[in-house]
């Protein structure tokens, strides 16, 4: 090779000793060579640039989602507001339906020194508190009614707009009417921050909470659990079926029309658009078999069918890589065909099979389109207990948040993408390590 590649330079030497007649446009040809090479480098650089831009966009928009502004202040659980007529002994509903947001608002107003008669001021104060405070205080009181009438220090979520402002995502140079947070509220925000009442905490809610129309209270809990169920179903179904199918096709199948048909089929199924699997799931599992909509079970089944071709193709490659001498040796020692495969070939192919499976699973984890069609675009607030309960999935949650108009959801969406990408990276790194650790080359 080195001989060949130096031949042009030898040609140049020749051209130098005998000028004019040997001029075969070398200068132009070398320029073309350099241009061509440059195009190649530019193409790779272009691809990598956009990979970098994509990741940069997601991370720069999303890293703040892992923090959440919280307000910690003393809250007076005033009997006047919660239970004016002292009915709670006879009517337990009273404590559930009490006006808790006012409790929180008054507490914050007191800290900020806003008079209880200043209606506009109170409204502005209310705009700094997340609506989720209603549920939080209600749970506190119903769990322990004796705190009514006392003053407790409570940490609750700041409103999504305040959260954005506190993280510096709202441009304060915009005219006051055109932004979601007023100058007065910004002033209060700074006061609260200085006194330490307003601070950023790690956002556990992002990983625990279910769907919510309020960005500050929305989380990925349901989506993560839903995705987990689906991955389990995909793993449990597609690994054995995929391996069994590949063993048959690779080791046993005679060359005939039926096996040819299966082969062509599998190659085509691997290339069928994923949304078609969604239509299949909708028609077969939901309309025909009557499984519930939005259930992780149906999602898992659809993703299984989608992943099977990938796993089969990877498994067949792994089985093919086991040298025939292993088979001949086992057969020569009297093992049956089935024993040869299950005792010798399969264990040797296992690392390759598992690598392929993990990559297939990672693919399934990021798949969105088929899940949209089987009703997983749902507002699910409670973590599903079984795979038959309504659930969402990580990529579907990202899709739903990406469609939300509020500024604070952009941050959440990017955060959710980061979570998804981290899962994918972990799976792929796992696959690579597995391959490095166990792969044998014959």
């Amino acid at each position: 090779m080195s001989q060949v590649s130096t031949s042009p330079s030898m040609a140049t030497l020749g051209a130098a000793s005998k000028p004019e007649r040997r001029d075969i446009g070398l200068r132009g040809r070398y320029a073309a060579e350099r241009r061509f090479r440059l195009f190649g480098m530019a193409a790779i650089a272009f691809g990598l640039l956009f990979l970098f831009l994509l990741l940069f966009t997601v991370v720069s928009k999303g890293y703040t989602a892992f923090q959440q502004s919280m307000i910690t202040i003393p809250v007076e659980f005033s009997e006047q507001i919660i239970d004016k007529n002292n009915e709670r002994a006879t009517n337990p509903q009273k404590l559930v339906s009490a006006n808790y947001p006012v409790v929180a608002r008054n507490a914050l107003a007191k800290v900020l020194g806003v008079s209880e008669d200043d209606r506009a001021g109170l409204k502005a104060v209310n705009g700094m508190i997340s609506d989720s405070v209603r549920v939080q205080l209600r749970d506190l009181v119903t769990a322990n009614p004796s705190i009514i009438g006392t003053t407790q220090t409570v940490t609750f979520l700041a409103h999504g707009d305040l959260d954005s402002a506190f993280k510096g995502q709202i441009d304060l140079s915009v005219a006051e009417n055109n932004r979601k947070i007023s100058d007065k509220q910004v002033g209060w925000m700074n006061t609260l921050a200085e006194s330490g009442a307003l601070s950023k905490h790690f956002n556990t809610g992002l990983f625990v909470n279910g769907a919510s129309s309020r960005p500050e209270a929305a989380g990925l809990g349901v989506a993560v659990v839903g995705s987990l169920y689906m991955m389990l179903i995909v793993l449990v179904l597609s690994l054995p079926i995929g391996v069994a199918a590949s063993i048959y096709l690779e080791e046993f199948a005679p060359k005939n029309r039926f096996t040819d048909l299966i082969e062509v089929n599998i190659n085509n199924l691997a290339a069928v658009p994923s949304i078609v699997y969604g239509l299949l799931g909708l028609a077969v599992f939901i309309n025909f078999a009557g499984f519930p909509r939005s259930a992780a079970l149906v999602g898992g089944l659809v993703l299984t069918l989608m992943t099977l071709p990938t796993i089969i193709i990877a498994t067949r490659a792994a089985l093919k890589a086991v040298p025939p001498s292993i088979r001949s040796a086992a057969l020569g020692l009297g093992a049956s065909k089935m024993q040869t495969v299950f005792h010798h070939v399969l264990p040797l192919a296992m690392p390759g099979i598992l690598t392929g499976t993990i990559i297939g699973l990672a693919h399934a984890l990021g798949e969105t389109a088929p899940l949209l069609l089987i009703g997983m675009v749902a507002f699910v607030a409670d973590v599903p207990g079984t795979p038959l309960d309504p659930a969402t999935a990580l990529p579907v949650q990202i899709y739903m948040w990406a469609n939300e108009a509020e500024r604070a959801f952009v941050e959440r969406t990017s955060g959710a993408i980061m979570v998804l990408l981290i899962f994918l990276i972990l799976m792929n790194v796992g696959a690579i390590l597995l391959r490095r650790r166990f792969e044998r080359r014959w």
Binding site: E33, G40, L48, L54, Y248, P273, P395, A402
Partner: protein, 494 residues
């Protein structure tokens, strides 16, 4: 007895069968295993398979058949005037009866008796137990519900008995057949082979399922909307608001969607093909081993990123960027700072999709370029051609069929891509040639039509299946043709 408990019992019988079978074989061998035809585990497995398999098959068949049988018996018991009503009403009645039957299960025997004497209060009584019933049930419904409950209980009892008996009988007879000469291994392996074949048939079943399910739904659709109006119609206007009203059925023209799909796919290929091909050429012909080992996996990361992430990238970064930069350009040239590129446009969706497709083009073509025999390359270089001349005049022509195949496969991905276009291409179905305006695609419309709350009987939702089968056929043709080309090409050098 619940199904899961029944399955557990069968499993226990199976495990017991395995243990007893192996023990029996060991005993027969009399301390010398070579007396046996197979190793003891095979005898155990043989017993276990015969205990579990028939029982599970019986269970499966029963679970599917029994509700059908019960339903038809209950319906046969309807009064004549109810039977005369249309099928849909009868289905409603049956659903109500099932609800009442569920309600009966939470009532005590006395309460139920009271209901039969005084049927008028049934709805209130059931509602107080937390079982909502749509309307006040007719007297015959209470009786049918009672029948339904009785038959379900009977069915469940008989099922339990039958399954346990089948499992036990299977275990008994297979145990009886154990003898030193018995070819247990061959039997077990035969059954394993059947299992393997069944697993590989799932691939066929999936295809059959795809085609059959979509075809039946699409035929429903074509009964309502003529096929030629769908395939050659130039207006897409499904009229969601008027769904159900027969007078305004809406227009379902495929052409604008197909135009959008192909246009966006074309823009994507315009980005992906040059970049992907040059990247592949550089990596296979120029790059040092070190550069290649870094750049190739990094480019392939692009293929591993979920498409929803690309969609988000298009939605929040590329779209707004193109919109703002077009406004700036417009301002510089004409002084009028209004954008001429929409945030959701053919260009945005196509460009981002193109980035997604780069690794598909590059790794497929990389494989094909590397497969071109060394001798061709050496011959050309030896004649004094530069590397780029070798690539352009020798390698690419030799690899052309394979590369065309790879590009066809990539194109089929572009046609079937969903999430990027859902987020970045827009929903307006129109035919125009300006890449700066939004257009929509087949996949976007499938998602739009099916994420609503419409009944599955309206053409508004059924059209999604007609779109789906169109998409399936297009991608199938592209792929089969691509595979055909690639195969034919491979044979040349092998």
């Amino acid at each position: 007895m619940s199904i899961s408990l029944l399955l557990l019992i069968v499993a226990v019988i199976g495990v017991a069968g395995y243990l007893i079978g192996s023990w029996r074989a060991n005993a027969l061998a009399g301390g010398k295993l070579s007396n046996l035809h197979s190793r003891p585990g095979y005898y155990g497995s043989f017993v276990a398979i015969w205990s579990i398999l028939p029982a599970v098959v019986v269970l499966f068949v029963w679970v599917i058949a029994s509700p059908i049988y019960i339903s038809s018996t209950v319906r046969a018991g309807f009064p004549e005037e109810v039977k005369a009503e249309p099928q849909a009403t009868q289905n409603l009645n049956y659903n109500m009866i099932s609800a009442i039957a569920r309600g009966f299960k939470v009532l005590t025997a006395e309460e139920r008796e009271a209901l039969f004497k005084d049927g008028a209060t049934a709805r209130d009584v059931l509602a107080s137990k937390g079982v909502p019933v749509a309307a006040e049930p007719a007297p015959y419904m209470l009786k049918s519900a009672d029948d339904l409950n009785r038959m379900t209980t009977t069915s469940s009892t008989w099922l339990s008995i039958l399954v346990v008996i089948v499992a036990a009988v299977g275990a008994f007879f297979s145990y009886r057949s154990i003898a030193p000469k018995f070819r247990a291994r061959n039997r077990v392996e035969g059954m394993m082979l059947v299992g393997l074949i069944a697993a590989s048939s799932i691939a066929i079943l999936t295809t059959v399922g795809i085609v059959a399910s979509m075809a039946t739904e699409a035929i429903h659709f074509f009964n309502m909307v003529p096929a030629w109006e769908f395939f050659f119609g130039t207006t897409w206007d499904p009229r969601f608001a008027a769904a159900g009203a027969t007078a305004s059925a809406g227009q379902f023209g495929l052409i604008p969607l197909l135009a959008g799909t192909l246009y966006i796919g074309f823009v994507a290929m315009l980005v992906a093909v040059p970049v992907g091909l040059f990247a592949a050429i550089y990596m296979s012909e120029y790059a040092s081993r070190h550069v290649r080992s870094v750049a190739k996996p990094l480019l392939e990361v692009l293929a591993g990123i979920p498409t929803i992430v690309y969609g988000f990238f298009a939605l929040v970064t590329v779209g707004p960027f193109l919109r703002d930069i077009s406004a700036q350009l417009n301002g510089l040239v004409t002084g009028n700072y209004s954008n001429f590129i929409q945030a959701q446009s053919v260009l945005t969706a196509g460009f981002v999709m193109g980035i997604m497709l780069i690794p598909y083009v590059s790794s497929l073509s990389d494989d094909i370029i590397t497969a071109v025999p060394r001798a061709l390359r050496d011959g050309s270089l030896g004649l004094g051609a530069t590397r780029s001349e070798t690539i352009k005049r020798v390698i690419l022509p030799a690899a052309l069929p394979g590369i065309v195949g790879a590009l066809l496969m990539t194109a089929s991905r572009a046609v079937g891509e969903t999430m990027i276009v859902v987020l970045a291409a827009g929903v307006a179905a129109r035919m125009q040639l300006n890449p700066f305006e939004p257009m929509t695609t087949v996949t976007v419309k499938i998602v739009n039509q099916l994420t609503g709350d419409l009944e599955f009987t309206s053409p508004q939702t059924l059209v999604a299946f007609a779109l789906g089968i169109t998409l399936f056929v297009i991608t199938l043709c592209l792929n089969i043709y691509a595979l055909y080309i690639v195969r034919k090409y491979r044979e040349q050098y092998e």
